[in-house]
């Protein structure tokens, strides 16, 4: 009996690596959020296009992705089959958390997509448009609670920028952090917070079903398929884009990096990737190689400035 039990346990454990993926993508956020959706869209596209036989996604949520990043940098080192999804939120979170692990400790491959921030209210809210929100914010900044992702992320930065643009002290923004799309969405739907702020994709199905009302989107110009005014049209001079990227493990060879980059490039030019982006409302902002490296460095520098401006980093 015990032989049977032990053998079946060992067998079970050994069987797992046998089905192991060609790629293992870490989504450093709770399931349901933007990074999770990016990782799962990659999974589908890589498999659909037969670029990879099997792809696994795992979630390591918390603190703007720095928890996942730290775990990834630790555990994936030198393993060319492991990827991590990240993005602008992570850049901010590394700064606000004074994270010991930074993007220098992974191998950035490419920027993949961009998504605009949307501000939503429950259908029965008395806030009808951007002007209504601004009026409320000016009257009493603390009375407007903003529900979004982790502290110091794009959602938080956008809320701060809006406050600053309309002449309200950004440090007075009453921001409530939730660990992932699902939990924040529940709080917004339940009317627990005044407004919700996050990527458009996270609210899309609720907006279409009439449960949430979108009062503004953070793009420079109106986006096709999204029936909402931009922040600028609403009288708030703020535009911001939440980009997402994919990075590989630290300590891989140049050949391994080139192979991964080639796979990613094949993926972003595929039909299933483009179709998925269209359905999710993500803009294709693919950027790879040295250009991406330079852009990343620029973003890190400017984010550091914005965060200091709005008082999130001392």
């Amino acid at each position: 009996m015990k032989h049977f039990v032990l053998a079946s346990i060992l067998g079970g454990l050994l069987a797992l690596p046998a089905h192991a993926a060609d790629y293992k993508i870490m989504a450093p956020a709770a399931p349901g959020g933007g990074w999770d959706q990016t990782a799962r869209t990659m999974q589908t596209a890589l498999q659909d296009e037969k670029i990879s036989g099997s792809v696994q996604v795992n979630n390591v949520p918390g603190a703007g992705g720095t928890i996942g990043l730290a775990q990834f940098a630790n555990q994936a080192s030198g393993d060319p089959s492991q990827l991590i999804v990240g993005g602008y939120v992570m850049v901010g979170a590394i700064l606000t958390n004074a994270s010991p692990v930074t993007l220098d400790q992974v191998t950035p491959i490419a920027r993949l997509t961009g998504e605009f921030e949307a501000i939503v209210v429950p259908a029965k809210s008395d806030i009808k448009d951007m002007a209504g929100l601004v009026a409320k914010l000016k009257a009493d900044p603390g009375s407007v609670s903003w529900g979004g992702g982790s502290a110091g992320g794009t959602d938080h930065i956008t809320a701060g920028l809006i406050a600053k643009a309309v002449g309200v002290d950004p440090t007075k923004v009453n921001y409530i952090a939730f660990s992932g799309g699902g939990e924040a969405l529940a709080a917004i739907l339940g009317g627990q917070v005044t407004v919700g702020i996050s990527g458009y994709g996270e609210f899309e199905s609720q907006i279409k079903a009439g449960e949430l009302r979108i009062i503004g989107i953070s793009s420079d110009e109106k986006v096709a398929g999204i029936d909402a005014p931009t922040f600028k049209e609403g009288g708030v001079d703020v535009s911001i884009q939440n980009w997402r990227m994919v990075a590989a493990a630290p300590g891989i060879t140049d050949e391994q990096k080139a192979a991964i980059s080639a796979d990613v490039e094949k993926m972003v030019t595929s039909k299933s990737w483009k179709d998925a982006l269209a359905t999710k409302g993500w803009a294709d902002t693919y950027l790879a190689g040295d250009e991406f490296k330079a852009q990343l460095a620029k973003d890190i520098e400017s984010t550091s400035g914005i965060l200091k401006d709005i008082g999130l980093v001392k």
Binding site: G12, L16, P31, G62, I67, G68, A151, A187, Q192
Partner: protein, 505 residues
């Protein structure tokens, strides 16, 4: 078409031979992964997702549902027999279940867990079919203040169940709360008590702590005790089946567990564990023989096992009606839906009703299949205990270690497993209960985040905590859980209460 017509149509889908086969594969795999600590249903569904891509949507979702229900069931087997909870939702089951197993009553314990899971799964799945829209409204009315009140209730009832030595119980609870502080704080992004160790940034994994305290701690205790023959485990005493008395003591806890687990599972920040804690406390308060608690009371297995299966069905409520995944498994099922171009949410029931009802019907089928598969296996499982002790405990050590590495392959994690194992040994040596440590680790961070969210939204106004009828009711119940025993003691019934005192581990 009315609900029953739709459900009947769902059964037509679920009972197709191929779909039955998928359900069978699902429940078998689910039970297997539930048994292994660390490897949960979420990971299994994630592993299978790419494989099922070539199947039709109905078949693969049916298989996922089977894995989900099977995982909830499988966790109880190792909890009861080996004191090694496979999932955090079956930690409470180990408290009474393992005591029963050591008295030769492993059979009835496994049976009440299996049948309780079946009953709860059955009722909760019908609940999902019939009252999902109402339940989801109730769940969304829970804001941070209400969640905080729910956590307070869980704390109070659980500490009331710690027994007479409240000092020891509270000490253990605070140990758990302190461990819960470790990691990055969500609201401010600051690391707390991590001492610059990256592995500690994501906090302490509940299953690692539970497996270490329960299984490793116990193994060390056994190894350290000089006498080797005094506490011989009897594999089977009496029947392996439930007696008439077992049935009469089990059916009410099954129903109560279901009533507690289902709505809590439907809450976006509820979680299966909280339902099991509450169910355990309720059963202890209501039991006809409360003195048996801590020594193998069947109610303490029946209630929590029903609660964790009911909450598994509850999780599907926000998933199907709102597209809100509230557990890791649900999130991956959501990805499964999206893979087939389905968007769970307010429109799913309207746009894809045949698939939704097929899923609900196949949950009922999976539930029935689990019962049929598992009841005959009980006789085989309990014989695990007839393995000589030194081999059995060596096996438990291997099993616990492999499970932990399987979930998180890190040397630091393994070190934590050992360190907490030694902590578990010391707690046992000095007579401190184990369960409150785990309870503190699970509830502490949840309660803290919800309290801080509630106070931030109200801008520091404390009255927000008693602002809604739901929080008032929950807090009143919590106060009653503390005050009623005090009053009973004051009225000279201390003797009865001191008999309630029991070692929880």
């Amino acid at each position: 078409m009315d609900t029953f017509g739709l459900l009947a149509q769902g059964f037509l889908v679920a009972l197709e031979p191929m779909n039955l086969l998928y359900a069978l594969i699902g429940v078998t795999l689910g039970t297997a992964v539930g048994v292994l600590p660390g490897i949960g249903p979420a990971l299994t569904v994630a592993l299978l997702l790419p494989v099922t891509y070539k199947l039709d949507p109905a078949g693969s979702l049916i298989m996922f549902a089977g894995i989900y229900y099977g995982g909830m069931y499988g966790g109880s087997t190792t909890s009861i027999l080996l004191n090694t909870p496979g999932e955090s939702a079956s930690i409470v089951t180990a408290l009474e279940g393992n005591k029963m197993a050591r008295k030769g009553r492993g059979g009835p314990a496994l049976a009440t867990a299996a049948i309780g899971s079946f009953v709860a799964g059955l009722i909760a799945t019908f609940g999902l079919a019939l009252i999902a829209p109402f339940i989801v409204k109730f769940a969304l009315s829970f804001g941070p203040a209400e969640y905080f009140a729910l956590m307070v209730l869980a704390f109070m009832t659980v500490s009331a169940a710690f027994g007479e030595s409240s000092l020891r119980g509270l000490t253990a609870l605070f140990l758990g709360l302190a461990l819960g502080l470790i990691g990055i704080d969500l609201q401010t992004g600051q690391a707390r008590l991590a001492f610059g160790i990256p592995d500690l940034l994501d906090g302490i994994e509940v299953t690692t702590l539970a497996v270490a305290l329960f299984a490793i701690g116990e193994t060390l205790t056994v190894a350290a005790s000089r006498s080797s023959g005094d506490e011989r485990i009897e594999p089977v005493k009496g029947s392996v089946w439930m007696s008439r008395e077992d049935w009469s003591r089990s059916w009410k806890p099954w129903l109560r567990g279901t009533a507690i687990g289902f709505p809590i599972g439907a809450m976006p920040a509820g979680g299966a564990e909280i339902g099991t804690f509450l169910s355990y406390s309720v059963e202890k308060q209501l039991a006809r023989k409360p003195e048996e608690f801590g020594h193998g009371a069947i109610e303490g297995v029946a209630g929590p096992e029903a609660a964790n299966n009911a909450s598994a069905a509850g999780t599907l409520v926000p998933l199907l009606t709102l597209g809100l995944p509230t557990t890791a498994t649900a999130a991956i099922m959501l990805a499964g839906f999206q893979q087939f171009g389905l968007q769970p949410g307010p429109l799913l029931f309207a746009n894809n009703s045949s698939l939704v009802w097929g899923l609900i019907a196949s949950l009922l089928v999976a539930n029935f299949m689990l019962l049929v598969l598992n009841l005959p296996l009980i006789g085989l499982w309990v014989r695990l205990l007839s393995i000589p002790r030194h081999w059995l405990y060596a096996g438990i050590l291997v099993f616990a270690t492999l499970g932990t590495i399987g979930a998180n392959p890190s040397v630091f994690e393994l070190g934590m497993l050992l360190a907490f194992g030694i902590l578990g040994y010391l707690l046992r040596q000095f007579g401190y209960p184990i369960a409150p440590v785990v309870v503190g680790l699970i509830l502490g961070p949840l309660a803290e985040q919800q309290l801080r969210r509630a106070l931030a939204i109200s801008q520091g106004d404390l009255t927000v905590l008693v602002h809604s009828p739901i929080s008032i009711v929950l807090l009143t119940l919590a106060a009653a859980a503390v005050i009623v025993p005090l009053v009973m003691r004051a009225r000279g019934r201390g003797k009865v209460l001191s008999q309630l005192a029991a070692d929880e581990d």
